[in-house]
């Protein structure tokens, strides 16, 4: 790993490539969001979902039967009926919001049809009403915005405003990449996404701060060097740490993803994407943006000085 240690890779020189890569990803994200949209879960649009272990393979016949049963029992069409779970014996039914009497009726009807027994408890029901979705959606936006603003304020105090701006741009980049993945892979967007978002908010900024910390130090040590040079040296000095940390954090999350149950998988996958996006943005984008902002700012100052 001595290669990583004595690395002199010119990140800043290649910043156009990195910016283009991010722009392309951004474009893919926009297109995907327009074409596929987001697979919003009941947490955001309201609705009811039933996940029931039927102890038998859920094939097309069973799915059709269940679909008919939903229609017959509660009088509305299920918006989706599909097989779920690792061994495919679980059926997942999604409908518009259903009240408690009808939920009870449907569960009982399915228990009866598939002879699951009177003490059957191997199922999951989730119902989110319209007024709750407003709360959840609002708390998502509120939490994200407040967290970002507080982080910006903190970095502003500890570093400077340009570092803070660059860090926030990277954060938005990472979150947008996660959103793109949710859209492209039709992952159901539920309140776990809020948790995943805020984890990445907290985590990915770590990498950026480690680099900025080095920039802060190098700037004080070698004030004559250009912003580009300082940024470059700092990225290279912290690069091995970035790789190692990304690896060690990923390992635990990937293990959770491989071994975990379905619900935790849904949580682990966006985290994996976010950690990778965070690695990319903190090494390839953060310092480049920082140098860019400083160069612009510097030119302005010069112009003002010239006028005087």
């Amino acid at each position: 790993m001595t290669i990583l240690k004595n690395m002199h890779f010119d990140f800043i020189k290649r910043r156009k490539i990195f910016f283009i890569i991010s722009a392309v990803v951004f474009l893919i994200g926009i297109i995907s969001l327009i074409v596929f949209g987001l697979n919003l879960d009941a947490d955001f649009v309201g609705g009811t979902s039933f996940t029931m272990n039927l102890s038998r393979p859920v094939d097309q016949t069973v799915i059709n039967d269940v679909r008919n049963l939903v229609k017959d029992t509660i009088g509305i069409d299920a918006s989706s009926v599909q097989s779920a779970g690792s061994n495919g014996t679980t059926v997942m039914i999604k409908t518009a919001e259903v009240d408690t009497e009808n939920r009870d009726k449907l569960v009982k009807a399915i228990v009866e049809k598939y002879e699951l027994g009177s003490s059957y408890t191997d199922y999951q029901v989730s119902n989110v009403g319209a007024s709750m979705t407003k709360d959840i959606t609002r708390s998502l936006f509120l939490a994200t915005i407040i967290a970002v603003v507080l982080m910006l304020a903190y970095i502003w105090i500890r570093f400077d405003l340009r570092s803070g701006t660059a860090a926030v741009i990277c954060l938005i980049h990472d979150l947008f990449v996660m959103l793109t993945v949710y859209s492209l892979f039709h992952i159901s967007v539920d309140s776990n996404l809020i948790a995943a978002f805020l984890t990445i908010l907290g985590y990915s900024i770590n990498g950026t701060i480690i680099v900025f910390d080095r920039i802060r130090e190098n700037k004080a040590k070698t004030p004559d060097k250009s912003f580009d040079e300082i940024a470059n040296v700092s990225i290279n000095q912290t690069f091995r740490r970035s790789i190692y940390t990304t690896f060690t954090t990923l390992i635990t999350i990937v293990m959770i993803y491989i071994l975990g149950v379905a619900s935790i998988k849904n949580f682990a996958f966006p985290l994996i994407v976010g950690i990778l996006a965070g690695f990319y943005s903190s090494t390839c984008l953060a310092s480049a943006i920082w140098a860019f902002l400083n160069n612009i700012g510097g030119k302005k100052k010069e112009k003002i000085a010239e006028k005087k």
Partner: protein
Amino acid sequence: MNKNTAKLILGISFVVALICIAVFGLTYLGLPGIFDEGAIRKGLDLSGGSLIVYEAQLDEIPENIDSEMDAVIVMLRNRLTTLGYTEAVVTKIGQTKVQVEIPDITNPEEAVQKLGSTAKLEFRDYEGTVILTGSDIVGANAVYGEYDNSGTAGYYVSLQLSEAATEKFAEATDRVKDLSSSGNNYIAIYLDDELQTSPSVTQKLTTANLSITKSGFTADEVKWLASVISAGALPFALKDIQLESIGPELGESALETSFLAAVIGLAIVIVFMIIFYKAFGVVSAISLAAYTAIVCIIIVTFKVNLSLPGIAGVVLSIGMAVDANIVIFERIQEELGLGKSLSAAVKAGFSRAFAAVLDSNITTLIAAVVLWIFGTGFITGFAITLFIGVIVSLFTAVFLTRFLLNAVIRTKLSDTKYYV
């Protein structure tokens, strides 16, 4: 034995003691070990159970909403106890919402309906005029016995009327008994606008004891009715706007697999650290063990509600604990590369890396706290474990690692070759 070897032994003994406490608990303090039955307070997604959110149905929010919601919460707690859900937790969300969490529940929909029912009791005549309401009742009991003159036995609810109500009832029965020609000589008893029974009235009744009967009443139903009637009606209707219900079987395997994932992940991380950082890696492995033990002890001691995202929070903070060590070790190796002595490099490495580690952990804490405040349901659990994880990792990755490292480099392992 020199001073530094003693320090090292002290540090390692401390870590071993932590691991022992985490695994075996402290019996005389009543602290169970992490693997003991019931040591971990499992979230609903691990233990199975239901989370119900009710919203008050109001056209406009009255001024005394806070005191009314408090009354509603007390009533919900009573109802939960009556239903046998003594482990249930009721919390208020915002101004007009209440969240009820019930572990180990077999019939969530029944609970949704019973808890949310207003329990508005009304005695009405054939025209629908209200004669008595729930507030006229001073006591209600569940009784088994004969409840009519024909000798039919069964479960029924026995009601005691207040004095004023007894008079009102006497007047009403006096009036109603004369309607026998039209067949309207009955008094209908409604609960939440649902007809329970409508006994016919043949004479003026001056008794203060009444009963609600219905063929097929079960012991549980009668007990439930008596309890909600004595507790009084809710000031407004509650609508269930969210239900998350998870069967116990689904949650069972989740904890085991996540635990396995954490152990394997941790093992790989430790091997990685030892390969790339040699003696530093060994020290950070000891710190990581201490970190894991402390987090376990905190989770058991403070009965932290451990949900699936909560486990993810713990696992993620393991990654961050390692990150702090990587940042520090990288820094030390750099200082060594500048030709400094081992002890000077360690000293400089820690002081230079500290700002970076602190800043990056504080931003994570900001995210955890915001999530804690604004999160709902399972997410709060994630925020709490992430918060605990970051605080503990700051302690182990910085202070414990420094203590151990300062001792190690002054023992026989003082040659730089063991570290680079």
